[in-house]
Structures are given as structure tokens and as C-alpha cells.
């Protein structure tokens, strides 16, 4: 495959992406390709711009400069209607699950089906219960309110909401943060399985290496708004890259300088 083919067949193609907040440059020229059906994990310390990258792709934030293409379609500067169209391809699991606390669990899971796909309530509920089973939750959870669930359970419901519309692209924002190691592993398993079952293209951001190893086909490391290394997950232990080495061994000394202020 030539470079040209690789670029045109990429599900998500990002070129020269810039984003600053006032003086602080958060994304400083990101180039990234994610192939169809590939699971990419972006690693990096806190405040390196991982979340901002996802939010730019989702259109929640407008990049200052650069191009984002999804299935070859330019999505930066897309109008509201076009954006809603593109969003139908997406599912996202948020860091704090971001469940709607005014709605019961099943309506959270079925939200995309009810609103965007215009399913009837009975059918949507049945689909929601099915989806809950896929993330390991029984039908008895369906009528609870999100506030009654533990953090791990909320993550599962969030994952259910993300996959319920069978999206082509899945985003995971720090999926294991705040969970105990066992629950984290359960969530990782569920993510890996869901992505495989849907045949979806996935981007996850995390600083949890156990999680990255489990769900990634390929890993990219972000530092100071740039991709400093990317490669297959198997190569991460002998990347020969001082940034990656410092990060995976968790050393305080090395080329990575800690930023005090959040992005």
C-alpha cells in the first residue's frame, strides 16, 4: 500500500491540527491516521492535550488550524446539520460517564435510539436491556437512576450508551480512571470486546498503561501538543524513544517536564 492509499483509506485523518487557549498552545501540529477497524490508544500525561484532541474531532471545540477528515469528509467548520449527521457515526464513553441523571438507566442507554434514530419507546427499551446485557448488567438495573450506581456500574452504562446505536467510531476518554484494578480490567475487556464485535474504529485516551496494552492495536504518545512516537502496541517496550521509556517506567527524570497548569 502506498502512502497515498493509506491516507485515503484512513477512517480518521488528522493533519497539522493546532489549538491554543490564550497563550497556552495545547495542540501544536498533530498528524494522525486511524485506519478502519483499528484501535488507537493515545497516551500521555495529564494536561498534554489528549482530551482537547478528542473534543476537536467531535466538534465540541473548534481547532485554530488544521484538517480533520472522517471517511474522507472534512469536518472542521461543518455546519450544525452536517455535524449532527457526522455525529451519528460516533459513540463516546466519557471520563465521568456523563450519564443524564434526570433519566433512568435504560433511557440513558437508549438515548441515541430514541432521539436520533426515532425508535418507539417499547422497542428502544428492549434494545436498551439487550445492550445492558452486553455490558454485563441485568434488566433490574434498567429502571434505576444513574445516581444509585457505583462508579464502575456507571462506566458500564456509559459504555452501553456509546455502543447502543452501533456506531462506526468509538471514543474512550480515560475509561479506567477512578476504578479499582479489577473493575478496570472488566471495563477494558468490555471495551476490547465491544470494539471487536462492532468492527468499530476506536480512539482511546488514557495514562493507564495496563488499559492501553489491553485495548490498543497501535499506540501514539502525545507530549506538549505533538505526537512524539507512534507504533504497534507490541513495540512499546522497546521503542527506543526516551519519552515513551520515561512514561511507561513512570520515572520522574527524563525529557518529560511536568506542567503545573491544566489545559
Amino acid at each position: 500500500m502506498t502512502l497515498q492509499d493509506a491516507a485515503t483509506s484512513a477512517k480518521i485523518r488528522i493533519r497539522d491540527l493546532h489549538k491554543s487557549f490564550g497563550e497556552k498552545q495545547v495542540l501544536a501540529g498533530i498528524d494522525l491516521d486511524v485506519a478502519e477497524g483499528e484501535s488507537l490508544v493515545v497516551i500521555g500525561g495529564s494536561g498534554t492535550g489528549k482530551s482537547v484532541l478528542l473534543k476537536c474531532i467531535l466538534g465540541i471545540m473548534q481547532p485554530d488550524r488544521g484538517s480533520i477528515q472522517i471517511d474522507g469528509q472534512e469536518v472542521t467548520g461543518l455546519g450544525r446539520r452536517g455535524r449532527e449527521q457526522v455525529m451519528q457515526k460516533f459513540g463516546m464513553l466519557f471520563q465521568g460517564a456523563a450519564l443524564f441523571d434526570s433519566l433512568p438507566v435504560w433511557e440513558n442507554v437508549a438515548f441515541g435510539l430514541l432521539q436520533a434514530k426515532k425508535l418507539g419507546r417499547t422497542e428502544a427499551r428492549a434494545r436498551a436491556v439487550e445492550t445492558l446485557a452486553r455490558v454485563g448488567l441485568g434488566p433490574d438495573v434498567a429502571d434505576l437512576s444513574p445516581a444509585e450506581l457505583s462508579g464502575g456500574m456507571q462506566k458500564r452504562v456509559g459504555l452501553g450508551r456509546a455502543i447502543a446505536t452501533q456506531p462506526e467510531i468509538l471514543f474512550f476518554d480515560e475509561p479506567t480512571t477512578g476504578l479499582d484494578p479489577i473493575m478496570a480490567d472488566v471495563i477494558n475487556e468490555l471495551i476490547a470486546r465491544s470494539v471487536r464485535q462492532l468492527g468499530a474504529t476506536a480512539i482511546s485516551i488514557t495514562h493507564d498503561l495496563a488499559s492501553a496494552r489491553k485495548i490498543a492495536d497501535r499506540i501514539a504518545m502525545l507530549y506538549r501538543g505533538k505526537i512524539v512516537w507512534q507504533g504497534p502496541v507490541g513495540q512499546i517496550d522497546d521503542s527506543g524513544n526516551p519519552y515513551v521509556d520515561q512514561f511507561i517506567h513512570g520515572r520522574a527524570e527524563g525529557p518529560i517536564q511536568l506542567d503545573v497548569r491544566a489545559a
Partner: protein, 257 residues
């Protein structure tokens, strides 16, 4: 720093806030009207604003009507014009105190809770989550609240008018020695349709403003629990100021006709 520069900066900030707010309201109305509509959310908001505000607004109205009767009696009895008490009560309630007091009470009750709810949704990324589920937050969150405020406050004010007049009636009958028939006759005697209508128009404007400030401040809240608290305060204060300002403007429009 140059004091003139400070004044200039404050003024520019003020203009920018007005511009932001206008764009926000315009976007909400344009997006909301073009649909899809969310009838369940609209009904829930209407119940919350209309039905659950009844006790607060009713209590405010009855005591206002009562005190109006007492005070106007004190004043008018000094030049033998006690018979005007019923007219004063009904005109004050319908034209002015009904809408303004109901508006202020609803700003405290509903505006604050809207700002807190939407603000919490903002800081817990629920608003971003809406976007990823192909749902426009302006259609789903803001427009139903604006519409509910616009429709329900006039109904609340109508109830407040009746309760306020009833408060005046109670004091008039049991304290000031009016006959029941006489009081009711005098209540109707000089009341015109426009008195009630102008009050209801005010109520619709106030309801829209209260919901708008609740949504606007909540939508733009930043930085966790403290940010949500600040948004709540700002929503109530700004809605109250806007109500009092708009009250003059609407009165002026009706008065000059």
C-alpha cells in the same frame, strides 16, 4: 490605571454580555422552533414552573393583596377616599405587583434550579454527551425551558391576580368594614381588559427572561461546584435586574398607547 480606560473596559464588557445573551437567545429560538420538539421535556418543565411554583407565588400574592388594602386604606382615609381601596388593590395587583412579584419569586425558585441543573450538566460533560448523541443542547435543554417560562408565567400571574384580590377582599371585609357586594362591585367597576392583558404580557416576558438567564448562566458555567454556585447566583441576580428593567419598558409601551 487610567480611570477612563477602566470605565471603557467595563462598558465594552457590558456590551459584549448583551451581545452574547442576544446570540444565545436567538440561537435557542431558531434551533428550538425548527424542531425536533421534545414534548416530554416541555411538559416536565411546564409542571415544574407552573404547578410547583403555585404555593410560593400564591403566598406572596395573598399577603401583598392584604397589605395593599391596609396601606391604601391608611392613605386614602386621610382625604375620605376609602372607597378607592378595592380599585387600588385590583389595579396594582394586575398591572404591577402580580407579574413583578411572581417573576421575582420564580427567578429565585426556577431560574436558580435551571442554572444549577444545566451548570452541573456542563461541568460533568453531560452537555458534551448530548452532542455526541446527535442531540442539540439548545433544542433539548434550552428551548423547552424558554417555552415553558413563556407559557406558564402568565397562567401563574392570572392565579396570583385572583389570590391577591382575594387577600385585599379579606382585609376589606373583616378589617376595614366594607360590605362584600360593595367590595366586589368596586373591584370590577374600573377594571379594564388592558389592565389584565398588560400584566400577562409582562408575565410572559419575565418568564422568558428568567428561563433565559437560568439556561445562559448554567450553560456557560465553568470549573466544578464553585462555578455552578456562581452561575446560580448570577442567574437569580441578572434575572431580577432584567425583570425590573423590562417591567419599566413594557409599562412604557402600554402606557404610551
Amino acid at each position: 490605571m487610567n480611570p477612563l480606560a477602566v470605565i471603557g473596559r467595563l462598558f465594552l464588557g457590558f456590551l459584549q454580555a448583551i451581545g452574547d445573551l442576544t446570540l444565545f437567545a436567538g440561537r435557542a429560538v431558531a434551533q428550538g422552533v425548527s424542531g425536533p420538539w421534545y414534548p416530554r421535556t416541555i411538559v416536565r418543565q411546564m409542571i415544574d414552573i407552573g404547578y410547583y411554583s403555585l404555593p410560593v407565588v400564591g403566598l406572596t400574592a395573598i399577603f401583598t393583596g392584604m397589605v395593599l388594602a391596609l396601606q391604601s386604606h391608611t392613605g386614602f382615609s386621610r382625604f375620605e377616599a376609602q372607597s378607592a381601596v378595592a380599585t387600588i388593590v385590583v389595579l396594582s395587583m394586575t398591572r404591577e405587583l402580580g407579574p413583578v412579584l411572581a417573576g421575582l419569586m420564580v427567578a429565585g425558585r426556577v431560574g436558580a434550579s435551571m442554572a444549577a441543573e444545566i451548570g452541573t450538566m456542563r461541568v460533568t460533560e453531560q452537555i458534551d454527551a448530548l452532542t455526541t448523541l446527535s442531540t442539540d443542547p439548545f433544542k433539548y435543554l434550552v428551548w423547552p425551558r424558554l417555552l415553558a417560562g413563556l407559557l406558564m408565567l402568565p397562567l401563574l400571574v392570572l392565579v396570583a391576580d385572583v389570590i391577591g384580590v382575594f387577600g385585599g377582599y379579606l382585609v376589606g371585609i373583616y378589617k376595614l368594614g366594607f360590605g362584600p357586594e360593595e367590595y366586589i362591585r368596586r373591584t370590577w367597576e374600573f377594571l379594564e381588559v388592558q389592565d389584565v392583558v398588560s400584566g400577562l404580557v409582562k408575565a410572559a416576558v419575565f418568564g422568558f427572561l428568567v428561563a433565559l438567564m437560568g439556561c445562559y448562566q448554567g450553560y456557560h458555567s465553568r470549573g466544578g461546584a464553585q462555578g455552578v454556585g456562581a452561575a446560580t447566583t448570577k442567574a437569580v441576580v441578572s434575572a431580577s435586574i432584567l425583570i425590573l428593567t423590562a417591567n419599566y419598558v413594557v409599562t412604557e409601551i402600554f402606557f404610551s398607547r
